[in-house]
């Protein structure tokens, strides 16, 4: 189900601006969009209520906080039914930043940030592979993140 139809041009314009800079004063957004500051507030609150906006935050550059190794890992399970138990355990490992239930050869697909290869190895063999239900894993180390961005809002 999409709520896109409940959003008008002004909403999308506001989203486009605030998804790029969350701390922009609403006064400036108002000027850009051509409505009052109070209206911007109201619209943002409405989009929060509709859960179009799910939060806000500063982006951390993982490399600068010593997380230099970015890895994708495909996980094979012993049985498909073990999925939710395994996800619950994965959630407890803070270095796992993303977790998906995917089609294709893997049952679960995750993204992991580790400080170095040694740390990655510790997470893999010491934590992930010890979870009951995990049969095997396949690791793809990202040597370079060529780009990362959000979905196009205005289309």
């Amino acid at each position: 189900m999409t709520l896109r139809n409940n959003l008008d041009e002004v909403d999308l314009k506001i989203l486009d601006i605030i998804t790029k800079n969350a701390r922009i004063p609403f006064k400036d957004v108002a000027k850009d969009v051509g409505i009052s500051r109070a209206a911007v507030h109201q619209r943002v609150n409405r989009m929060i209520d509709l859960e179009v906006i799910t939060g806000s935050g500063y982006h951390i550059n993982p490399k600068k906080v010593e997380f230099r190794t970015c890895t994708y890992i495909g996980i094979f399970l012993e049985k498909g039914g073990l999925f939710s138990e395994v996800v619950t355990r994965l959630k407890l490992i803070p270095e796992i930043v993303e977790c998906h239930y995917t089609t294709g050869q893997y049952a679960i697909f995750i993204k992991v940030y580790a400080k170095d290869n040694e740390h990655l190895k510790a997470i893999l063999s010491g934590e992930i592979q010890k979870i009951p239900g995990v049969a095997s894993t396949e690791t793809f180390i990202s040597l370079e993140e060529s780009f990362k961005r959000t979905i196009p809002v205005n289309s």
Partner: protein
């Protein structure tokens, strides 16, 4: 590509920085005075610290997080790309950059040369994107697609 990438050093950050990071990565619009109160320092100090974190690149900006589904982007897929020849890498990445639905792109070890994340409105939209845009990119030999049926969680790296 930044030639100094491989030299990127971890930044010098102390406990106060970490405390600030924890608060502002969860809520970008939190008043700095509130951050100041929680950390037991002045509002001006928080301003200074955040500015420094921005300057040294520990934080690269801020954003409102949107729900792709609510914006009509219902299909999330990962795709491994095989190249005809490894040397096509740069030109393929440039071509991928021009496709807005490709939201992430990595140069990876393992069987694939490039690994990307795609957000599309529907499966049909995904199929169209693969057919008409991705397979048209010169240098791409073939692709393997994993559709994410459910994103269980997504979060930032842990701050000590």
């Amino acid at each position: 590509m930044n030639t100094k990438d491989y030299l990127e050093q971890a930044a010098d950050i102390d406990e106060l920085d970490e405390k600030i990071l924890k608060l502002i990565t969860r809520n970008a619009r939190i008043p700095f005075l509130e951050v100041a109160r929680e950390c037991g320092v002045s509002g001006a100090a928080i301003h200074q610290r955040v500015q420094r974190l921005l300057n040294i690149g520990v934080v690269s900006g801020s954003e409102f997080v949107v729900s792709p589904q609510k914006l009509g982007y219902n299909t999330c897929a990962y795709m491994g790309i095989y190249l005809d020849k490894a040397k096509y890498h740069t030109q393929v990445v440039e071509a991928l950059r021009n496709i807005p639905e490709v939201v992430e792109c990595h140069y990876v070890t393992g069987q694939y040369a490039i690994f990307i994340k795609i957000q599309t409105k529907t499966n049909k939209h995904l199929k169209k994107l693969i057919d008409e845009e991705l397979q048209e990119v010169e240098g791409i030999a073939r692709t393997e697609t994993f559709i994410s049926l459910e994103m269980d969680f997504k979060r930032q790296v842990p701050i000590k």
